[in-house]
Amino acid sequence: MPAERHAAGPRPRRTGTAATAALLAPTYLWLAVAVFLPLAGMLYFSLLTGVPAPHHPAAFTAENYLAFVRKPYLLHVAWRSLALGLWTTGLCALIGWPAALALSRAVRGRARDAIFLLTILPFWTSGLVRVLSWTMVLADHGLLDRALGAVIPGWRVSDLLYTFPAIVIGLVHAYLPYMILTCYVSLAAIDPALIEAARGLGARAPVIFARILLPISLPGLLSGAVLIFVPVIGSFMEPRILGGRVGVTMGTVIEDQFTQAFDWPLGAALSFTMLAAVLLLFGVLYGASRLRPAA
């Protein structure tokens, strides 16, 4: 029997490889065309002195990559983007993890389906509509002020619109579902008997949270954080609409280079600098997480 299986082994494996390749081909073809081609174009632009035009031939230069040295105010902008990423990711984790826990442990059947639907709802609405409706809520004497005014006597204005917190509110709304879904997947996989075993061994709720639930769901929490942090530090729509004057982030600066200043090379170079920074950050985080179990 083992010999038979051995002899028959290579054949299914070869068809398996072919099938895998056939299944993956459309994805990789699409990625190559839709991601790497434009990226290659951007890389080319980032190394030019200007946008090439018929009577303005552009030369190659690395000058654009020195933007952070030449324009120190960009460091300030980068810091704001980073703060935005940290605040949004942190709040999503604080709100999303408990929600995912409740969904995985307490809620069953139809109620769970309904709550999932409500969770995913932000995905179904246009991002622009979502952000613009927040301006109506957060504006002076907007919906929020009127609601608070009805509850708290003497309430005047919250003065939230065009502030940093307003941007964070809009971004948390947009990205919370990612955190809930990734945390849910890792929390739902935990055998309920693990929690009972811990209780039987004398553990109370805080210990079960810190020693069992949190460590086991950490991969979900981290993948949610990555899914949120990366787009948030590059976001430009929410900062622009909800942040007004304070909404200058790396995302809006880059967008300006393309749509207002027509300095494509600088915009491209800033994009690649951010990409490199993010890759470096996750490289370090990944390395650190790989080291942890051995320690």
């Binding site: 055998d191 008997a193 693990l194 009972e196 075993a197 811990a198 209780r199 039987g200 061994l201 004398g202 553990a203 109370r204 210990v207 020693r211 069992i212 460590p215 086991i216």
Partner: protein, 350 residues
């Protein structure tokens, strides 16, 4: 060493009653098996003793102290789950240390106790492994070590061996018994495996439809089943329906004697006879016990022993289990006489 007492416990999930007025005493230092088919309520009873479920009515006492409303983490129980429920992100040593740390035992003292317990379950040297790197039997031992290391007042096991293959299961039964006797630990063991219940326990309690239908020493419960259910769930049994007389039970015109007290003459009686208690003769020998002629319908030869399927004159099917001391004593289609001692006809409730 303390006992566990359950008094008048009822529990239902929604409209479905699971336990119906169950009372039982689990003696100190003894191993009691809760045996029953799925849905009989045996796991629910264990979970109520552990504190994972609250009974609708009734009370639970551990060592005389009422714990019905005591949270699990204060009950000082050791529990082993069917799925083992080892913490996957911790090493074997960390799993065993978890309960000690919760009870304030820390540092080298805790590590020494954890190592001693791992030695007791013969897992010394596996401290740094993770659960995923262990076989099923080894994971089982870690779960046991984790449950007993804290010195619990009672050890509760929920079908702990059902995921193991037959050989490993028998090995673990011996191990479990050795450890339980070494620690003299009051143990309650849920199983649906009758052989496991018989070989492992001091006391067997048979559950059916949320009630304990019979409990006692394994030999007592096996030899003197009180009901048809108890007789057929624990081992194999032949059932003979007849009518009571002053001397015995008349089954299709033949008087069968029994050592059990009989109901008033004329009432219907069911006798249970274990297949291995019945002798099989080709001639109507002058046996002093009960005799019953039957035709051999099938012989299942299994090396050391054979099982005979026979039909009595009234069509009742009977099963006889015989050691193959010589060649099988009868041939297919042959008319034989079955005989057994009156003490082996047990009157059971239908």
């Amino acid at each position: 060493m303390v006992g566990v007492d359950v008094a008048g416990v009822s529990k239902g999930f929604g409209a479905v009653p699971v336990l119906d007025d169950v009372s039982a005493a689990f003696a100190p230092g003894m191993l009691t098996s809760l045996l029953g088919p799925s849905g009989s309520g045996k796991t629910t009873l264990l979970r109520i003793i552990a504190g994972f479920e609250t009974p609708d009515r009734g009370s639970v006492r551990i060592g005389g102290e009422t714990v019905t409303d005591t949270p699990v983490w204060r009950r000082q129980i050791g529990m082993v789950f069917q799925s083992y429920a080892l913490f996957p992100h911790m090493t074997v040593l960390q799993n065993v240390l978890f309960g000690l740390h919760r009870r304030g035992v820390r540092g080298t003292d805790a590590i020494a106790r954890a190592r001693a317990t791992l030695d007791l379950v013969r897992l010394g040297g596996f401290e740094a492994r993770r659960p995923a790197q262990l076989s099923g039997g080894q994971q089982q031992r870690v779960a046991l070590a984790r449950a007993i290391v804290t010195g619990p007042r009672v050890l509760l096991l929920d079908e702990p061996l059902s995921a193991l293959d037959r050989r490993l299961r028998q090995e673990m039964q011996v191990e479990l018994r050795r450890i339980q006797r070494t620690l003299n630990l009051t143990t309650i063991f849920v199983t649906h495996d009758q052989e496991e219940a018989l070989t492992l326990s001091d006391t067997v309690a048979i559950l059916d439809h949320g009630r304990i239908v019979q409990s006692g020493a394994p030999a007592e419960v096996y030899e003197r089943p009180r009901s048809r259910f108890a007789a057929s769930f624990l081992g194999d049994a032949n059932f003979l329906a007849g009518t009571a007389t002053a001397d015995g039970v008349v089954v299709s015109g033949r008087l069968l004697r029994t050592a059990d007290p009989l109901p008033s003459p004329g009432s219907a009686v069911t006798l249970a006879v274990r297949p291995e208690k019945i002798g099989l003769d080709t001639a109507d020998s002058a046996a002093d016990g009960n005799t019953l002629p039957a035709i051999v319908q099938q012989i299942i030869y299994a090396g050391a022993a054979s099982t005979f399927l026979l039909a009595a004159e009234d069509g009742t099917l009977l099963r006889v289990f015989a050691q193959n001391r010589d060649v099988p004593a009868a041939a297919l289609g042959q008319r034989v006489v079955l005989h057994w001692a009156p003490a082996h006809s047990v009157v059971v409730a239908a």
